[in-house]
Amino acid sequence: MTRFIESFATQQLLPPWRATGARTSGFAIRLTEERIRDYLARYFNGGYPDEAPFHYLPLPGPQFGMLTTCYFPDVCSTSPQAAMHGPSQASWDHLSHREVYLAFPVMRHGVTKDNLLNVAGTVVWVQPFMYSDNDSVVFSSREIWGTDTFLADIVREDGPSPGQLHFDAGMIGIKKFSPRSRSEMLAVLHITAGGVDPLGARERLKANPDLEAFLKTLGVSGAFMEEMQKGVRRSDYPGLEVNNLKQFRDCYDMGQAIYRAIVASKAIHSEIENVVFYDPDKVEIEFMWSDSVAEMLRTLLNAEKPNDTGPPALHDPTGPAGAADKMDWDMDRVVVKAEFGFSFTSNVTFEVISTIHTYGMTS
């Protein structure tokens, strides 16, 4: 085994890790099959130059993704390697952070040597982006398990009443591309939830039957749905398998990769409590439109341009100052409808299952 040389700059959060008391809020939003198919073709299904023995396809039926925010008050590595971390052999790993990410489920089919698809597939999730407010998490997730994570300023405030949430994320970017534009701290995402769903989860499903298959997929994760867990053993919840594309550039030709692989990982939530279902009619999800995030909004959310003008009402510059006001909110926005939303507190364990394919490893 070739030993990784530990250094001051690699005091990272090593997998597997465990988080206690994590507070998760998830919102189901509609995506389009065309965009999911395009995403899979661009990142997973091509020849690079060899093709992975997998082919990823959108799930049948209506397409949804989960926009999820989470506050981790205490995360620490459970890796034996963490106990030997660095030349000092100390364990530098307890940290806290906030994150937000988009994930959607797809079907991963095996491909035979004859290039035939196995009909039976495995539902896995892909994460096109994640924002975290902790550098160590950003470096670890990018460099170890391959999540496309970016550093952001994140403000998350759970309201005094159940079902209330105010979440803001911003990153350094450029509002309007031009050779003379300057980078600044730009607002990227604003989410508010105004209260508990008066219908409850089951009635909400009846009112929005498109969600049924998606929520069953999500329910298998054990990530939420206390109502649906009754009578189901803990072992029935194997957790969410996430597939990430882990890749690094060649330093001479930046268009080439010196490493490209698909990494499978898994997050399992346990000790789930304080489950709240948000009233989707009182949820606001708004992506702020800057040129720095426009490509992401076009290719993932199928938004060709903003669909509403100006900043969200809570970030009106004439209003009272808030915690996220060092971000520039003076942009138009893409308002996305939440179809379903929930929140819960849990302990989370995260582990890498394996690197399921490394490109170019043929000889």
Binding site: R3, P87, F139, S178, C251, G255, V293, R298
Partner: protein
């Protein structure tokens, strides 16, 4: 791109801008002290001299002829992509037309010499700079530096300004870290580096006149000479005896962890890049007797201290939380910096498992001075 090349697919969410870069109007504050050479050798052995010396064909050692560490605090008001060819960005805006990023950067550079192995001592020997400590304020700069170039970049809170007196310098670096090694210690922002100077000389403030060799350069005659000739970077490089690194060739270990077994490396290579300083002007010294450099040493910060510490026997104040010392020389200047010439010097063989043989070692160690001649007379690159 060769048929077997593996394409890198930049994600739609990414803000990465790959090098080369052009940085005009940069302000550099620099501080020089005697390096702890045994620790520089430890650094070389740990990060560069991997495996068997004969097999890899080179050995890194401290540059005994210039045994100093240089702390550079750099303010980049304008950072531009300088890619000479259009990037593969599809219908998106080319990097160079997207706008201007600004940031601050702080690093310690240790001059090291790569000695070529038997029969290649002349062709493969080169002076390079190791950067054991480098922090930046801009997150994507940290990501690009780490993933593309193998630089050990961390993101930090960097504040710079004036110290107590006008025309002086004050720099502060805060890093996320762990203050103690006690179980359950939470990561938080910790102070790591403090630098304070008196006013740039000549000044009537401050300590007794300095005693370093650089005093000579601040005589009225020498000062005028530097002022007049400062735009000729070669001249500054000569007259300042290497204080202004007109072309700093760096070396760094680029490596990545295996996802399932993070103690295992799946790629290890030495990467070199060049920072070329031109249009150097406004070169001014600080009185080194009025410069105070302090590194905090508690908890996780302690791991880096041996490599940035002053040579043993040097005057320093040390307690359980910090070390502090005065440099041999301190100065500032403005310059334009071009960052380019990225190349892989050496790829170390890495075990792949799965019954596959280790990856093959590759080397491209020809010294920069010889490269044009090698290209002219040498065998063509396959």
């Amino acid at each position: 791109m060769s048929p077997e090349a593996i394409p890198y697919v930049q994600s739609a969410a990414s803000q990465e801008v790959p090098p080369p870069y052009h940085f005009p109007g940069v302000t550099v504050n620099a501080f020089v002290w005697e390096a702890n050479l045994p620790q520089v050798q430890v650094y070389c052995d740990r990060f560069f001299n991997l495996g068997d010396a004969q097999e890899r064909g080179f050995t890194y050692r401290p540059a005994a002829a210039w045994p100093y560490a240089i702390l550079l605090v750099i303010d980049y008001p304008v950072m531009l992509s300088a890619s000479p060819v259009p990037e593969n960005v599809g219908n998106e805006t080319p990097y160079g037309n997207r706008g201007i990023v600004s940031q601050r950067e702080v690093f310690v550079a240790l001059p090291v010499v790569r000695f070529g192995g038997a029969g290649r001592l002349l062709s493969d020997t080169n002076l390079e700079f190791a950067l054991p400590f480098i922090v930046v304020g801009e997150p994507m700069s940290a990501v690009c530096g780490r993933e593309m170039l193998g630089l050990e970049k961390l993101r930090a809170e960097i504040t710079i300004g004036e110290s107590e007196f006008p025309d002086s310098f004050r720099g502060r670096v805060g890093l996320p870290g762990w203050a103690t090694d006690e179980e359950g210690e939470m990561q938080r922002m910790l102070p790591f580096l403090e630098v304070d100077t008196g006013p740039a000389v000549p000044t009537w403030r401050g300590s007794a006149k300095e005693t370093s060799p650089w005093t000579l350069l601040r005589s009225r005659t020498a000062g005028n000479l530097i002022g007049a000739m400062a735009t000729a970077s070669e001249f500054v490089g000569t007259v300042s005896a290497g204080l202004v690194p007109t072309a700093m060739q760096t070396v760094s270990l680029k490596q990545f962890r295996d996802a399932r077994n993070p103690g295992k490396a799946l790629y290890q290579a030495l990467i070199s890049c060049r920072s070329k300083y031109t249009s150097i002007e406004n070169f001014e010294f600080y009185n080194e007797n009025d410069v105070y450099i302090k590194f905090y040493t508690n908890g996780s910060l302690a791991e880096i201290i041996p490599f940035v510490d002053i040579a043993s026997g040097g005057e320093k104040i040390a307690d359980e939380q910090s070390i502090a010392f005065r440099p041999k020389a301190a100065y500032r200047f403005n310059a334009t910096i071009d960052f380019d010439n990225m190349r892989t010097l050496h790829t170390f063989p890495v075990d792949r498992g799965h019954g596959l043989p280790p990856t093959k070692a590759t080397s491209d160690l020809i010294s920069p001075w010889l490269r044009p001649w090698q290209g002219f007379f040498g065998r063509p690159t396959p």
